[in-house]
């Protein structure tokens, strides 16, 4: 698989994740993991911060443009770019231990969650910290399961 195809595959997985998350929320699932963010974290871990930031920006736009869309529009791209950049700073050559993946997913997925809370606080909203904490926990668990195969996909290695 060529380099461009791998990035396109990660972008397509992010779109699938964004649509699935919106549909699951509509079916009453609360604290759904940020599935669209996981390919961003995987690419950042695999290739470093510029790639993670770029895919984060692109994926964030996908998330914000899937109806009903982000509120405000453009917030998710910025937060996902920061999350991808953070994951990219944690990039390592060679095999990535699961514990390191868990730590990076925890740190990176905290960025969009904290960003939304921060914006809410500046707008004088009451903050739903319990749902934010549950979303962080569910994203971390999903990341521990899904990021290693996504990393392998980007590196052209066997997924499992």
């Amino acid at each position: 698989m060529t380099n461009t195809l791998r990035i396109a595959a990660l972008l397509a997985l992010s779109l699938a994740g964004a649509v699935l998350v919106v549909a699951l929320r509509a079916r009453g699932w609360s604290a759904v993991p940020e599935l669209a963010l996981l390919p961003v974290i995987a690419l950042g871990l695999s290739r470093g911060w510029p790639a993670g930031t770029a895919l984060g920006l692109a994926t964030g736009w996908l998330v914000d443009l899937v109806p009903p869309g982000g509120d405000p529009l453009g917030l998710t791209p910025i937060l996902y770019a920061l999350a991808g950049s953070l994951a990219g700073r944690a990039s390592r050559v060679g095999p990535v231990p699961v514990r390191w993946v868990a730590l990076v997913v925890l740190g990176s997925s905290a960025v969009p969650i904290a960003g939304r809370l921060l914006l809410g606080a500046t707008q004088g909203q009451q903050l739903d910290l319990a749902t934010a904490a549950l979303t962080l926990a569910s994203t971390t668990v999903a990341g521990i399961v899904l990021v290693p195969p996504l990393l392998a996909l980007d590196r052209g290695e066997p997924a499992w």
């Binding site: 509509a26 920006l57 899937v66 009903p68 869309g69 910025i78 606080a121």
Partner: protein, 283 residues
């Protein structure tokens, strides 16, 4: 550093700056052209995909009967509220309709829809949801959305096959409401000044000094021309009254009638097709 990566980083920086600019535009005015166009384009491209994914989930329980009951109650409560408040409904006044050479509307009809998407939650929860009907089904902006329990929100962005709904509890949504005893006020998202609220609870702020107590049911007052809200739709129930904090009227925590996180089938209130003027209608 070679020239090629540097160019990429400039492109990345430009992308981030454009994104920040668009976010600023959307924050300053949610109805501004560029963000609205982007949302519409996103809905047009990914709306059918979202609807297709939603169709793969199990069929929802049949709420058709509840919605039919809601539609009937809608007509009754609206006429009762108008009688009590002395508001003349221009749409149902045959005399005015004849004077303006337009047929009166019987009232409303409720178009049922399925919720196919719930937006990224902000600090207080989801602000918007998406339903699987749009302009092709007669939906337009600023129409009331409800379910069999009560008010859900109003339509804000309508595509060909999907529509976005600003839900009750969103920061930009304030609803005029009244209690059973006729006390008027507004219902909206709580602010830190309201004190502690459980997740999902709203704030009712009365505009007059009057008695308010837990258990009071709030219904919509209605909007001019019934847009965005028709009258008489349950909004929520008062669960606790805030201690006096210098406001003119009392304020209270409200549990919404409709559970936004558990929505499945909703109805959109659209004007009914025009009907001929009857002598009965003018009495």
């Amino acid at each position: 550093m070679t020239h090629h990566p540097r160019r990429r980083r400039y492109a990345l920086l430009a992308g981030a700056l454009i994104t920040l600019l668009l976010m600023g535009l959307d924050l300053a005015d949610p109805d501004s052209t560029v963000p609205s166009t982007l949302r519409s384009a996103g809905a047009a491209v990914t709306g059918p995909l979202l609807t297709a994914v939603a169709d793969t989930f199990p069929e929802p329980p049949d709420h058709g009967a509840d919605l039919a009951a809601t539609g009937a109650r809608l007509a009754l409560t609206e006429s009762e509220v108008r009688r009590l408040t002395g508001i003349v409904d221009l749409n149902t006044s045959a005399t005015l309709a004849a004077a303006t050479d337009s047929a009166p509307h019987a009232a409303h009809r409720v178009v049922t829809a399925r919720v196919v998407g719930l937006g990224t939650p902000t600090a207080t929860g989801p602000q918007r949801l998406t339903i699987d009907i749009g302009a092709r089904d007669g939906i337009s902006e600023d129409q009331t959305v409800l379910n069999h329990e009560g008010l859900v929100g109003r339509t804000v962005l309508v595509g060909a096959t999907t529509a976005d709904v600003l839900v009750l509890g969103a920061q930009d949504l304030i609803v005029g409401a009244r209690t059973d005893s006729g006390l008027l006020g507004t219902v909206g998202a709580p602010t830190p000044a309201d004190g502690a609220r459980d997740p999902g609870q709203l704030t009712f702020s009365a505009i007059a000094i009057a008695h308010l107590e837990p258990g009071d049911v709030l219904t919509t007052v209605g909007s001019p021309d019934n847009s965005p809200f028709v009258a008489g739709i349950p909004v929520g129930t008062v669960v606790s009254v805030d201690p006096g904090t210098g406001r003119v009227g009392p304020a209270a925590a409200v549990r919404p009638a409709a559970d936004i996180a558990r929505l499945d089938v909703v109805g959109v209130v659209v004007p009914a097709p025009a009907e001929p003027v009857s002598a009965e209608a003018d009495r």
